[in-house]
């Protein structure tokens, strides 16, 4: 029995060492301590009434929190700049859908690709249930060739209420 427990301990230590090493090197790696919502009914997906077949997938709060752990995910706040400055998901960049520069859209998306590459996971959000700019921005980005768009329709309100990381000001962090 002693040797059994010794073997078990060695195997577990080996697994701990391997997992932490692989995680630090892997592009799919996650932080060792993550941020998870404190509310309990976080896995129901909010979908806007105007959603259509072929829209990018809508994700729940827990899925947004899971994606947030990833290194190469980009959160995009689709609300107006004054809302963004008042408070946003920490690390999110601001692309106000209502203020997209319609006269020079092509150039705008060329610049945006520099900060938000097309192959990355992208999460768009706005205020929550009464706004649709996250959906419209998600559709627009999908049409620009973004392949991994997720629309977090529960948005700012769900995120903030769950006690997940937020910040103020005109900078992402």
């Amino acid at each position: 029995m002693t040797s059994r427990i010794l073997q078990a301990s060695i195997l577990i230590l080996l697994a701990v060492a391997t997992s932490l090493t692989v995680n630090s090197l892997s592009p799919a790696g996650i932080p060792l301590i993550g941020n998870w919502p404190s509310v309990s009914d976080s896995d129901s997906v909010a979908v806007p009434p105007s959603a259509e077949e072929g829209d990018p997938p809508f994700i729940s709060l827990d899925e947004a929190a899971a994606l947030y752990q990833k290194r190469e995910v980009i959160f995009i706040d689709a609300r107006n700049p004054e809302d963004y400055i008042y408070g946003h998901i920490r690390g999110a960049i601001n692309i106000p859908y209502d203020f997209l520069p319609v006269d020079r859209l092509e150039e705008f998306w060329r610049e945006t690709v520099q900060v938000a590459p097309k192959e990355n996971d992208i999460v768009t959000y706005c205020s929550g249930l009464e706004c649709e700019s996250s959906l419209h921005l998600g559709r627009e980005m999908a049409s620009q060739g973004y392949t991994k768009i997720h629309i977090f329709y529960g948005g700012w309100r769900e995120w903030e209420r769950a006690g997940l990381p937020v910040t103020k000001g005109n900078q992402p962090e």
Binding site: L6, Q7, A8, V16, T18, S19, A66
Partner: protein, 153 residues
């Protein structure tokens, strides 16, 4: 009258049970190793672990499954490996049973992290009790043939 001792010494049953449990865990580990963020979300939805331990559990658990699964099949450390795997299944059974009592249908997180399909907790419980029975048999089987490597027991 059958000889009850012989079941615990049957080389072939020992081999089959070790192979089965080992392969099940190796297979189960692969998807989770590939996407720890999604596996962490599934663990979070069991609502059993405090938030600060969720990511660590989601990173380490699949590697425990993989390494112990391999050790169980190849032989070195197989006695320790089956102990760890049976303990894991016992933990799964408790976790699923708690959520069965709570009346929650879970995402299992057993073999895949890619679907949001909920599983019926009672089916998961029955499946894991079967796996534990198989694992306990593998643990108490005394056969020593068919190891690729021998190791002091």
């Amino acid at each position: 009258m059958s000889d009850t001792r012989s079941i615990w010494h049957n080389d072939y049953l020992g081999l089959v049970s070790r192979l089965a449990v080992g392969l099940i865990f190796i297979y189960a580990s692969l998807d989770k190793i590939g996407d720890p963020a999604q596996f962490a979300r599934i663990i979070y939805n069991y609502h059993l672990l405090p938030g600060q331990f969720i990511n660590l559990a989601s990173l380490i658990m699949p590697w425990v499954e993989l390494i112990c699964g391999v050790a169980l099949i190849l032989g070195p450390g197989k006695d320790g490996a089956i102990l760890v795997l049976n303990a894991l299944v016992a933990v799964f059974i408790v976790a699923i049973a708690i959520n069965l009592v709570r009346g929650v249908d879970l995402e299992c997180g057993c073999f895949t992290v890619s679907s949001k399909a909920k599983s019926n907790a009672l089916n998961l419980l029955i499946r894991d009790v079967g796996l534990l029975a198989l694992g306990l048999y593998a643990m108490f089987n005394k056969a020593t043939r068919f190891f690729l490597f021998r190791y002091p027991a």
